[in-house]
Symmetry: C4
C-alpha cells in the first residue's frame, strides 16, 4: 500500500510542469558545461566543474528513478527506446573513472548527455522518428552504392596501388579515397596523379562520378516522391472521411434504383 502511494506520488511528479522544466534546464546546463570544459579554465573552475558534474549525475539519476517508479507497468518503461537510452547514459556516468586514458572516455560519455536534449523535447523525438522511418526505403539504393564503391575500390587498388599506396593501398583506403572523389574534394589531384601513368584513367573517375551522382539523385528523388505520395494518400483519406466516403459508383447505383422505381410505377 505504501509503495503504491509512492508510485502515485512519483507519477504526478513525473508529469509536473515545473519538474519537467527543471530537468530541461539541467540538461541545457550540462550541455553548456560540456562546451565550457573544452576551454582552458583556472584550477578553481575545474574543481567547481567536477562537483557540478556529480550534482548533474545525481539529478539525472533521481529523474530516471522517478520516471521508472512512476511507470505503472514496469515492462512498458523498457519498451521505449528513449527510456533505455536515457538509462544507459545515466548509468554509464556512474562508473568511477581514474587514469588519463579512462578520463577521455568519461568526458566523451558526458558529451552524450547532450543527446538527452533530443529525448526530452517531444518535437525533436518526432523528427528523429520520422527520419528513421525514411531509412528502410533507402536500403537497396545504399546497398547499390556500396557495391559501386566496392567494385571501383577493388579496381582502384589493383591498378593504382603502385602509383600512390597512401590513397590506393588496399580496398578500405581506396573506398575512403573514392568517397573523397564523390565529394569533389581535390579529386583532380588524385586523377592527375594517376593520369600520368595511365592516361585513360579519367574514364575511371568520370564514370564513378556519373554513377554515384546518378544513384544519389535517384535516392533523393525517391524520397521526395514517396513523402509526397504519403502526404497525398493522407489527404485523400481525409477528404473521403469529410465527404462520407460516397463515391460516384454509389450515385450511379442510386440513380439505377430510381429508374427501376419509375419504370415500375
Amino acid at each position: 500500500m505504501n509503495k503504491t502511494s509512492l508510485q502515485l506520488h512519483f507519477e504526478s511528479l513525473r508529469s509536473n510542469r515545473i519538474f519537467e522544466l527543471f530537468v530541461v534546464m539541467v540538461i541545457i546546463f550540462s550541455a553548456l558545461m560540456v562546451g565550457a570544459k573544452t576551454y582552458n579554465m583556472p584550477k578553481e573552475a575545474l574543481i567547481a566543474v567536477k562537483w557540478l558534474d556529480v550534482l548533474i549525475t545525481v539529478i539525472f539519476l533521481f529523474e530516471i528513478t522517478v520516471r521508472f517508479i512512476g511507470e505503472e507497468v514496469k515492462r512498458n518503461f523498457f519498451k521505449s527506446g528513449w527510456n533505455i537510452f536515457d538509462s544507459l547514459v545515466v548509468i554509464v556516468s556512474l562508473v568511477p573513472i581514474e587514469g588519463s586514458e579512462m578520463a577521455l572516455v568519461g568526458r566523451l560519455i558526458r558529451i552524450f548527455r547532450v543527446l538527452r536534449m533530443i529525448s526530452i523535447i517531444p518535437e525533436l523525438r518526432l523528427l528523429i522518428n520520422s527520419l528513421m522511418k525514411a531509412l528502410p526505403q533507402l536500403g537497396y539504393v545504399v546497398l547499390l552504392m556500396f557495391i559501386i564503391f566496392y567494385i571501383y575500390a577493388a579496381i582502384g587498388s589493383t591498378i593504382f596501388a603502385a602509383i600512390n599506396p597512401i590513397l590506393w593501398g588496399d580496398i578500405s583506403i581506396s573506398m575512403l579515397t573514392l568517397f573523397r572523389v564523390m565529394t569533389f574534394e581535390d579529386w583532380t589531384d588524385v586523377m592527375y596523379e594517376t593520369m600520368e601513368v595511365h592516361p585513360l584513367s579519367w574514364l575511371y573517375f568520370l564514370s564513378f562520378i556519373f554513377l554515384t551522382t546518378f544513384a544519389f539523385l535517384n535516392m533523393v528523388i525517391g524520397i521526395i516522391v514517396s513523402v509526397m505520395e504519403e502526404e497525398h494518400t493522407r489527404e485523400r483519406e481525409e477528404r473521403d472521411a469529410r465527404e462520407g466516403k460516397i463515391t460516384i459508383e454509389d450515385l450511379h447505383q442510386q440513380i439505377r434504383e430510381l429508374k427501376a422505381l419509375i419504370q415500375k410505377s
Copy 2:
C-alpha cells in the same frame, strides 16, 4: 486645418508616380556611389562624393518625412517593419562621424542604404515576406542540426585539440571546422591529419557528413512538400469556390429526396 491640408498634400505626393520613380532613382544612385567609393578616386571626386552623400541623406530624410506626415493614422506608420527599417537607416546616417574608426562605421551604414532597394520594390518585399514565412517550419531541424554540430564539436575538441589546436582548440573553433567539413572544403586535409594519430577517426568525419547531409536533405524535402501542399490546398479551395462547393454528398442527398418523392406519388 492647415495641417490637414499639408497631410493631404503629402499623401498625394507619396503616391505620386514621378515622386516614387525619383526615390527609386536616388536609391539606385546611392547604391552605385557605395560601389564607386570602393575604387581609388582622385581628390576632387572624393569631395563630390561627400556632397552627394549629404544630398542623398537630405532626400531620404525628406522622403521619409513625406511618408510619415502623409500617413493619416501615425501609429500605422510604425506597424510596418519596412517603415521602421527605412527610418532607422536614414536617422543613423544623420549622426556626424569623425575619426578613422568611426568613418568605417559610417561607410558601413551607408551600405545598408542599398537594402532600401528591397523595401521600395513591392515584389522583393513580397519575396522576403514569403521567405520569412518558410523559416519557422525549419526551426526544429535547425535545432537538431545545432545539437549534432555541438556534440561533434565537443567530441572533436576533446580528442583532436592536442593534434591541431588551430582547428580543434575549443568548442566554437571546432564548430567552425565542422561547418567547413560540411561544405566539403579541404575536409580530407583535416581528416588525414587526425588519422595519423587516431586511425579510426574517419568514422567521426564520415558519420558527421552522413548525419548532416541526411538532416539537410530532409529539411529541403520538408520545405518542398509543405510548399506544394499549401499550393494544393489553395488550388482545391479555388476549385471548390468555382464549382459552388457542391459535393458528391449533396448530390446523394438530392437523389434520396427524389426517391422519396417518387415513392410517395
Copy 3:
C-alpha cells in the same frame, strides 16, 4: 513566273529529307573540324582545313539562301530568332580575316557554328525554348541575390581591402570572391586570412553562405513547384476535355430540374 517556280523548287528542297540530313552532316562535320583545329596538325592538314572551311561556309550560305527563297512570305523568315541566328553566323563567317589578332576572332566565330546543332534539331530547340520560359519567374530572386552580393561585396571591400587587395580590392573583385565563397571553393582560406585581423569575420562569411544558400534553395523549390503546378493544370484541363466538361454543379442542376418535373406531374 520564273521566280515563283524557283521558290517552289527551293521550298521542296528545303523540306527534302536528304537535303536536311546533308545539312546536319555538314554541321556535325564543321563541329568536328572546330575540335580538330585545337590539336597540332601538319602543314598539309592545315591547308586542307582551310579549304574545307571555305567549303562549309559555301554550303551554309547555300542552305540559308535556300531557306530564305523557299519562304513564301519573306517577313516570316525574320520572325524566327533561330533564322536570324543562323544568318548572322553565316554572314559573319564571310568577312575576310587577316592578321593574328583577327584570326582569333575568326576561329571563335567558326566555333559558334556548333550552335547550329541546336537550331537544326527540333527537340533541342524545344528544350531551349522551355528553359527560356523558366527564366522570367527567376527574375526577382536573381535581383535579390544580386542585392545580397552587392551589399556583402561593399562591406567586404570596405573592411578587408587592406588585408588582401587581390581578393577585396574593389566591389567587382569582391563580388567575384564572394561567388567563389558561394561555390565553397577554398572559402576557408579567404576566411582564415580575414579572421587573423578581424576575429569575428566568420560571422560575415557564415551569414553570407546561409543567405545565398537559402535564396538559392528557394529559387530551386520555386521552379519545381511552378513546373509541377503547370503540369497539374494541363492534366486537369485534359481530364475536363475528356469528361466533356460536365461538373458536379451541372449534375446538381439536372437533378433539380428532375425534381421539379416530378413535383409537377
Copy 4:
C-alpha cells in the same frame, strides 16, 4: 527421355531455396576475396586464394550450367540481359592467364564477379531496370550539355592554350578542365591564371557555371516532375479501377434518360 529428366532435375534445383542461398554465399565470399587480395598476404594465403579462385569459378560454371539446362526453351535463356552478363563473366574467368600484364586483366575480370550481387538480388535488378528507364528522357539534356561543353572547350583551347597547355592544350583536355570547373574543384585557380592574361575571362567561367548549373537543375527537376506524373497517372488508374470507371459523364447520361422516362410517363 533421359535428357528431359535431367532438365526437370536441374529445373527443380534451380528454384531450390538452399541452392539459391548457397550461390549468394559464394558470390559474397568471392566479393570478400576480391577485397582481401588488395591487402599484402603471406605466401601460403596467396596459394589458398588461388585454389579458392578455381573453386569459385567451378561453382559459378556449375550454377550457370544448371540454369541453362534447367531452362525449358533454350532461346529464352539468352533473352535476359542478366543471363548473358552472368555467362560472360563466368566464361571469361575460364581463360587461362599467364604473365604480369595479363594477370592484371585477370584480376579485373574477377572484380566484375561482384556485379553478380546485382543480378542475384531481385530488388537490385528492379532498381537498375528503373534507373535505366530514366535514362532516355535525359537524352536531349545530356546532348545539350555536351554541346555547351564542346563549344566552351573549343573557345577555351583557342584562347587559353598558350597560357597553360596542361589544362587547355586541346579540346579533350579542355573538356576535362571544364568538368573540373563544373564540380567547383579549385576552379578559381584555373580562372585566376587566365585572368592575368585576359582580365575579362571571368565572364567565360561564370557564364559556363551558370549555363551548366541551369541545365543540370532543369534535368533534375525534369526527372522529379516526370516520376511524380507517372506516379500520379498510376494512382488515378487505380482509383478508376476501384470506382468501376464510372465518370460524371456517365451519371449525366443516366439522369437524362431518367428525365426522358418521366416526361414520357
